[in-house]
């Protein structure tokens, strides 16, 4: 069985600075994979390369065995990959409900239809309501998304990402800026909606990482210094030295 997502010798330079310096990684189907590492290690950049936001400098990226070279973000999304952003990236002037509903359109096969009305599709509207319920924003339904609080916008960001039911879901710091109870809630939600799916997640909260991930990769200065089960990574002396020691320290 081929991996859901495969990176091979992936490199990315911005000008002279090489930010991703040869990443090899294979993430299996239905695996929950966390990528951790210090600030500026290149985690978000890695996400941006995989999802077609930035062009890679060299190497290969394969989704379900298919090479993604040269594909635009929307084409990659149509292959069943959906992502969230570290910096909230929503539709600020549209209502919360519209935000979610738009996230369902392509996934439900509406394409560029100008002959059907969105209000007529029960599947679409009920699907959107259901997502709103899951992310606890039903009460905010009709507000412009731009006026939501930061934590609410983060929840919406995740809602938009999971709405389409993509089978590879990539979340960039989903719980950043959330309170403890919000984090617990969102982690449960993530666990639930990614059942049977592939999850790739960047996260600084080690509680979340160790609670959710099947495997963990540690990215430091554009290189993966360790990949393995949570226990193995935690025990790895290299990881201890480069990152985890400090990060776990900070937890206490």
């Amino acid at each position: 069985m081929s991996a859901a997502l495969e990176l091979e010798g992936l490199r990315k330079s911005f000008g002279k600075a090489e930010i991703i310096r040869g990443v090899d990684l294979s993430i299996g189907r239905a695996e929950r994979h966390a990528i951790i590492g210090p600030n500026g290690a290149g985690k978000s950049t890695l996400f941006n390369l995989i999802t077609g936001r930035f062009p890679k400098t060299s190497g290969a990226i394969r989704l379900h065995g298919k090479d993604l070279t040269g594909l635009a973000p929307f084409e990659i999304n149509r292959l069943g990959l959906s992502r969230s952003f570290q910096i909230t990236n929503i539709f600020p002037k549209m209502s919360v409900f519209e935000n979610v509903r738009c996230a369902l359109l392509w996934a439900q096969g509406h394409r560029y239809s100008f002959w059907s009305l969105v209000s007529r599709s029960r599947e679409l509207n009920e699907g959107a309501e259901e997502i709103l319920e899951q992310i606890n924003l039903t009460a905010r339904r009709d507000l412009p998304a731009g006026v939501l609080s930061y934590a609410e916008q983060r929840a919406l960001e995740i809602g938009i990402t999971i709405a389409g039911g993509a089978d590879v879901i990539m979340l960039d710091e989903p719980t950043a800026g959330m309170s403890h109870s919000e984090t617990d809630y969102i982690v449960d939600l993530i666990r639930e909606v990614t059942k049977g799916k592939t999850l790739v997640m960047v996260e600084h909260d080690m509680g979340v990482v160790f609670g959710l991930a099947d495997r963990i990769s540690v990215l430091v200065y554009g290189e993966i210094i360790a990949t393995g089960t949570p226990e193995a990574v935690r025990a790895n002396p290299k990881v201890q030295e480069a990152y985890l020691g400090a990060a776990l320290e900070a937890e206490h």
């Binding site: 999304n77 600020p92 002037k93 359109l105 560029y112 059907s116 009305l117 938009i160």
Partner: protein, 429 residues
């Protein structure tokens, strides 16, 4: 779309409710009885012009308000649709083809659509400045073509036709203005309804999404470019319909119908009405047509005033007239409109009077400089004044100064009243 719209759209899961249909039925009824209220031909001409401008402005807002595309050359699609329709009228006159006249705007629409498909294929690749510049370039190019491709555009005189050669519909041959009015009103209702429905389709919804955040839209499976392209084509279609109606109404099209001035005018109309609401451009078109008609009758400087009003709108009410109306929904719901009456009277009214005073001074200056020597008498606000009389000058300047001074003095009070009117009784905003 804006909050108003969304709350209204809520119960629409499924059938058409009366709440959704009511405004449309009222509009249809309104259009049906208008000619009985304003019976003379010039009024009907103005109403026809309004209807055409409404369709054009709504089409334009599919780009600007719904899709986030700022076009400086949208007159091209209306103009081309119009030119095509005049040619078709001429072919009907020559007996080459035959059809009922009410179908003609459809062909204008198709011509606008075809051209939009062509231009849009490269202009919608990027939004923002690139799109705006291409629209400007294409607008200039087509306007220049009008003197080059004389067969189609008729050179400087344009092309003219006669609308009465279509197959009569229920005995109507469209000789009379009133018959043309109902034809135009029919197309207005149909186009407005279709444009509204377009905004409720998947691609129409995504047009909003691409306007708000094109990048995120791409991560939802939509190519921002193709979403823009569909809006652009639809907009070209409806602009073409407006062009067809123009051809029927005026039976002549000239370079003026597709030049940059006309493109600028529709931007102004749409913005004045408010781009954030579906009905904004409708208000804009009505107000603009009335304003232009009235001002044109009374002053040569009408464009100056229209320009000033536009600048004031952009600066003080970026939501346009529709936005201004929508701002009052909250006080209305709180039952606090009464709080606003007094400050409006003591602040806005003097402001308006000050503005009129300034306009009066401008008119007098213009008259003093431009009129033939010895001609000192001019009409100003229904009065006969001398543009050289110091007394008249003192009066007009005093009114201006007093008006602005009062408005300025009242401004803090207005602001306080506005805050008060928007505060729920519990004290929470």
């Amino acid at each position: 779309m804006t909050s108003l719209d969304q709350t209204r759209a809520r119960p629409a899961a499924g059938g058409l409710s009366l709440a959704v249909l009511a405004p449309w039925l009222m509009a249809a009824l309104f259009l049906a009885i208008m000619p009985f209220v304003f019976t003379d031909n010039s009024a009907i001409t103005i109403m026809n012009q309004m209807a055409i401008t409404i369709i054009f402005a709504l089409a334009y807002n599919m780009l600007l308000g719904q899709g986030g595309m700022l076009s400086f050359g949208h007159a091209v699609y209306m103009g081309l649709g119009g030119f095509m329709c005049v040619h078709i009228m001429n072919w009907m006159e020559d007996g080459l083809i035959t059809m009922p006249l009410p179908l003609l705007p459809l062909f204008g629409g198709f011509f606008g659509l075809g051209f939009a498909m062509l231009i849009g294929s490269f202009s919608t690749r990027k939004a923002g400045t690139v799109f705006a510049m291409i629209s400007l370039g294409v607008g200039e190019l087509i306007a220049a073509c009008s003197v080059i491709v004389v067969v189609f555009f008729g050179g400087e005189e344009g092309v003219s036709g006669d609308r009465t050669y279509g197959i009569p519909v229920f005995g109507f041959e469209f000789l009379h203005q009133i018959e043309v009015y109902y034809l135009t009103a029919f197309w207005l209702m149909l186009s407005a309804a279709l444009m509204y429905l377009f905004s409720r389709t998947p691609v129409g919804r995504m047009a909003n999404a691409v306007r708000d955040n094109p990048e995120r839209a791409e991560f939802l499976g939509y190519s921002q470019r193709w979403v823009r392209y569909y809006s652009f084509c639809a907009s070209g279609f409806f602009a073409g319909i407006a062009g067809g109606l123009f051809a029927i109404n005026y039976e002549i099209l000239t370079e003026e119908n597709l030049n940059l001035a006309t493109s600028g005018m529709i931007l102004l109309v749409t913005f004045l009405g408010g781009v954030g609401f579906f009905f904004g451009p409708i208000i804009g078109a009505i107000v603009f047509t009335l304003l232009a008609t009235v001002l044109k009758l009374h002053t040569e400087l009408w464009q100056l005033y229209v320009g000033a009003i536009f600048v004031a709108t952009v600066m003080f009410f970026p939501g346009g007239l529709a936005g201004l109306l929508a701002m009052h929904v909250a006080p209305w719901r709180l039952g606090k409109m009464g709080v606003l009456v007094k400050p409006y009277l003591t602040t806005l009214l003097p402001g308006v009077i000050g503005g009129l005073g300034l306009a009066g001074a401008t008119e007098m200056l213009f008259h003093a400089r431009e009129a033939a020597t010895g001609d000192e008498a001019m009409g100003l606000f229904f009065m006969e004044v001398s543009s050289h009389s110091p007394v008249a000058w003192a009066a007009v300047l005093a009114v201006t100064a007093a008006g602005f001074w009062l408005a300025r003095r009242g401004a803090p009070g207005l602001k306080a009243a506005w805050d008060e009117a928007n505060t729920a009784p519990g004290g929470r905003r």
